[in-house]
């Protein structure tokens, strides 16, 4: 290729690229900052639900507007879930007074209610245990492995989805501190 042709071609490519980049926000504007559609994915409003608490009450996600919420999907046969939950309990004890809430949703349709309840009671957990009897909420949240943890900010927007053992006590603590804007 000739020198002059290379220079002309390079300048043309550069200018087109800069123009494409500059006009992108106009031609391809992002959807509104917070989408209206709900999805179990960071940036989207969390799918709403109304579930029975194991002691008979019922709880709706919309009741918790204004509070950061951790939704924790688990089953009593899942050893990783059971290893994770004591950590959740201690973070819960530390931050519940400032508004942090944990909803431990038992995927009851792939578990048995008595074994779930007996495990939960034996550990003296204080966060509420929710029963997903027909698995609709588990499905809505596209849970593909247990445990799956979905963290919501106080506006009910998903900020983080952790699949598997990633939700250690330290990690959850850092996330909640950020959501509650605690900088000690």
């Amino acid at each position: 290729m000739k020198r002059s042709r290379f220079i002309i071609l390079s300048i043309a490519i550069t200018l087109v690229s800069i123009a494409w980049m500059s006009f992108t926000p106009l031609i391809f504007p992002s959807a509104e900052d917070t989408p209206k559609i709900s999805a179990p994915h960071p940036g989207f409003p969390a799918p709403s639900f109304n579930l029975e608490v194991f002691n008979g009450d019922s709880l709706s996600l919309s009741d918790l507007k204004g509070q950061p919420v951790l939704i924790f999907f688990w089953a009593s046969w899942c050893s990783v879930c059971k290893r994770t939950m004591p950590g959740l309990q201690s973070v819960y004890e530390e931050f519940h007074e400032r508004g942090f809430e944990i909803l431990a949703i038992n995927s009851t349709f792939q578990d048995t209610l008595p074994s779930a309840v007996s495990y939960y009671e034996s550990q003296n957990y204080t966060f509420p245990l929710l029963i997903d009897l027909d698995g609709i909420v588990t499905q809505d949240y596209q849970v593909r492995a247990l445990p799956t943890s979905v963290l919501l900010n106080s506006d009910g927007i998903v900020v983080n989805v952790v699949i598997g053992a990633g939700l250690s006590e330290a990690y959850l603590s850092t996330q909640i501190r950020e959501l509650l804007s605690i900088n000690e």
């Binding site: 490519i13 550069t14 391809f28 990633g166």
Partner: protein
């Protein structure tokens, strides 16, 4: 969406698995490409692996520094084997730094090494796209287009599919240009890397427009901005490497004759009249190590010249000097004068079947020993190995003696 792979307590999402596979595949391809180019594959692979490990550690330490108070009360969690609690930016910084320090320590030449890493760049870029497709990250804008995919509650642009289709074109160019990972396809190092990186930048600039959540900085998308800056830098480097007149740079020429040492003395005089000479070795007497067909002893000498002459013209000029001394092409029994270019301007390339640096440099003593004598600080332009290390590994055990005019010569 791909399923999740569970290994013990680790639930690796398909995305992580794809990234692991692409890391393995890309290091394997880099190793293959490296041995074709003659660059230092072992050191490059080790630097990559150590860079990756340092990167992961760095990402964890970075996260710890960010959230110091949590780790202060719970230091054990620093070592928890989970993929969360990572600060990717810090990790990349530490990883690249460690890989860079290792490459410097081993004297890896910058541009030849970057050329070697070009297939890694391509494969990892592809792996990254497939991983994002698998876990639904970096989703596209909503669209009515018939090829849209349903994701996160809307019909969306399949951004990664656009990207992959374009990368496919780049991949075909890459395979054709390198003759399926046989050579860089260019006479100067760094061109293959810069062209590959320009292609990836262009693809990123194009495809990012269709992404829903953009990272806006001063009114433009951050990744598009990085793409444009990378593109401009690459085009500038390509321009300099393709069109700037060559600087004076060293060339090592191996001279040989099985007729007379005088041919070497006279040839050196011819070279002196044409080029500026940097160094010359003494003349050595060697048994012909190739022995095909068997012939008498050889006189060898290496001379380092400095020239701005392009490789192809230099080669022509040396051939014509050979012919002045009565060399008949094809005659391997009577070799009045043989002039071979061993290194050219510190570059690594292939030209009409000849590889530069000459592969014989690491095979035969009659080239390596004279170089070691005249320039003990010499390093191989492709792999950065010192001449001392090359001589230690050399498979050739023929005897070289310094030619002495009085003892060996026929003249009195």
């Amino acid at each position: 969406m791909f399923p999740i792979i569970e290994i013990g307590p680790l639930a690796i999402q398909a995305a992580g698995f794809i990234l692991l596979i692409s890391f393995w595949l890309s290091t394997w391809l880099t190793g293959k490409f490296s041995s074709a180019l003659g660059t230092n594959g072992d050191v490059i692979e080790n630097s990559l692996l150590l860079g990756l490990l340092a990167g992961i550690l760095g990402a964890r330490v970075g996260f710890m520094l960010q959230n110091f108070e949590v780790f202060y009360s719970n230091p054990i969690s620093l070592f928890s084997l989970t993929p969360s609690m990572l600060n990717p930016a810090f990790g990349v910084l530490v990883g690249v730094l460690v890989a860079f320090i290792l490459s410097q320590k081993n004297h890896l030449p910058l541009w030849a090494t970057l050329d070697t890493l070009s297939p890694l760049l391509l494969v990892f870029f592809i792996g990254f796209q497939i991983a994002n497709l698998a876990n639904g990250e970096v989703y596209g804008l909503p669209t009515q287009a018939p090829w849209s995919i349903n994701l996160w509650g809307a019909s969306r642009h399949p951004v990664q599919i656009y990207t992959l289709l374009l990368v496919f074109i780049l991949l075909i160019w890459f395979i054709v240009k390198t003759k399926t990972l046989k050579s860089t396809g260019f006479m100067r190092n760094g061109l293959l890397f810069c062209f590959t990186l320009s292609g990836l930048s262009l693809i990123t600039i194009f495809a990012r427009s269709f992404v829903d959540k953009k990272i806006l900085v001063a009114g433009v998308d951050l990744l598009q901005l990085v793409g444009v800056i990378t593109l401009i830098s690459c085009l500038f480097i390509i321009y300099k490497k393709l069109f700037q007149p060559l600087h004076e740079a060293p060339v090592h020429i191996s001279m040989g004759s099985n007729q007379s040492a005088d041919h070497l003395i006279n040839a050196l005089a011819v070279l002196k009249s044409e080029f500026s000479i940097i160094r010359t070795s003494r003349i050595y007497v060697t048994q012909d190590v190739k022995k095909d067909p068997p012939s008498s002893e050889f006189f060898n000498q290496v001379v380092e010249i400095s020239t701005t002459l392009p490789y192809s013209q230099l080669r022509k000029k040396l051939k014509s000097i050979e012919q002045q001394f009565g060399r008949v092409p094809g005659n391997k029994i009577v070799v009045p004068l043989d002039l071979d270019i061993i290194t050219y301007h510190q570059e690594v390339f292939e030209y009409h079947g000849s590889h530069i640096p000459d592969p014989n440099l690491i095979k035969y003593r009659y080239i390596a020993e004279p170089i070691a004598e005249m320039d003990p600080g010499f390093r191989h332009p492709a792999n950065g190995k010192s001449i001392g290390a090359i001589l230690q590994k050399i498979p050739d055990h023929s005897m070289l003696n310094i030619w002495n005019k009085v003892k060996n010569g026929t003249k009195e």
